[in-house]
Symmetry: C2
DNA sequence: CCCGGCTCAGTGGCCTAGCCAATAGGTCAC
DNA sequence: GTGACCTATTGGCTAGGCCACTGAGCCGGG
């Protein structure tokens, strides 16, 4: 067990998080739409059995992620984004049925990132990409699946693209991507094939060839997509 | 002045937002790094001249966006993402300098959406696209800039792609996109050129040709990018 | 009848104060 | 050296209070 594999620090769940989640679920379950009001804070806090201050924290959290707008003197109003949020939740829950969607989103973002990396990479970026390749190779050579190396490689490419906005969108769906990654690399032979794909991407980036980089990344993401095709059969067996 | 151009509702700035911003700035100005601790809440609240409850709200906000982790009994710790976040904030603030970044993000997302729309569009989707085209054409014919029609067209293409995750990411950056849209369509001749671009995209989608749709969308987004090139000169004039 | 001003009730905003839970560090005993 | 215990510091949450904001309704004047 290496240091990187040590169990993560125990995560305490703060009350505001639980309350925020309850509220989001309640919005979805009750078909609330944009413009609908939540119950007054005093009522809601009593009903949820928490203090008003704690409820207010939860509403801050929900406001920050765009589910509600809190209006002084008026009430707390559901936003249009709230429905979108529910859809994302469903996307995560119905993961087995939504995998192709994650793949196509990865395709959109990561082929662009690879092309930008080919144009913008610094020596430092290339060193980081090479280090990730070496790390994954060592893991795969030792019989591992290369999950962390895969992660590092893609993060290095994203960094080399020097596009904070795209990086942010990647971060937004990072949990979903992680799942496709783990499933892909769990297939026999996939780690090594994935490593080869990374190699081709890195070559194109080093060569400063955006089109080649985008093509290599597209093929790499499609390889993950092959898993999506195989998996339904494995489940019915 | 149409309904869509009415001034937005006056935005009240809550204290927690100001405090959160102050803290983020302070982290940046003082070169705090991942793992560094903020001062204790009681101290920090006194120094900032707010109550601890208000500071706690600000920290909830910062925790939700990933700038800090709040540890019970230990303190509030800066995350790795904090530095990245400062860059995003700058990206938004320095909009004039960051426009190319929005463009490249649009390019990534919207060319994929156009390709998917070509594959997946229903008759209803096509009708919606056509309606948006007609709406924008009428607006432009009447001397308008076609902002709303442009918006409707892109929304219709996004809907026709039937990819909720990509649609979500589009929604995520919708404010930034709106700004590029308004600036682009404000240039003489752009509304009509944009309308022609839309026509080509719609044709490819109707024909069910993903590559042509992606190419047409790419060219359309690049046309917006031309504005980005022109604009710095307009500012120095 | 319509519009503007005022009032009231309901709502959120923020504060104060208090006490408990969690954490880290230090000390002591085995 | 290790484990248990204690202490100081830190955050977590509650309760209560008062003020600011908002929307709706009412009244008076034109």
């Amino acid at each position: 067990m290496t240091a990187s594999e040590f169990p993560a620090r125990l995560a305490r769940v703060r009350l505001y998080e639980q309350v925020a989640e309850q509220i989001t679920r309640w919005i979805g379950d009750n078909g609330l739409r944009a413009g609908d009001r939540l119950p007054p804070e005093r009522d809601l806090a009593t009903r949820l059995g928490v203090s008003r201050a704690t409820l207010s924290q939860a509403l801050v959290a929900l406001e920050v992620i765009g589910v509600v707008v809190v209006r002084h003197g008026d009430g707390t109003v559901v936003t249009e984004a709230a429905t979108g949020h529910a859809r994302i939740g469903e996307a995560i829950r119905d993961h087995a049925d939504r995998l192709p969607e994650v793949i196509e989103t990865r395709d959109a973002l990561e082929t662009k990132l690879a092309a930008l990396a080919a144009r913008r990479r610094s020596d430092e970026d290339l060193a980081r990409i090479d280090a990730a390749l070496a790390f994954m190779a060592a893991d795969v050579d030792n019989g591992g699946r290369g999950v962390e190396g895969d992660e590092r490689f893609h993060a290095a490419v994203t960094t080399a693209a020097h596009s904070p906005l795209l990086a942010r969108l990647m971060a937004e769906i990072s949990d979903l991507i992680r799942e496709t990654r783990i499933e892909s690399l769990g297939q026999p032979g996939r780690p090594r094939a994935s490593l080869a794909g990374h190699g081709a991407i890195a070559e194109a980036i080093r060569a400063g060839d955006p089109d080649a980089a985008a093509r290599a990344m597209h093929e790499h993401v499609e390889m993950v997509s092959d898993v999506a095709v195989l998996r339904p059969e494995a489940e019915s067996a």
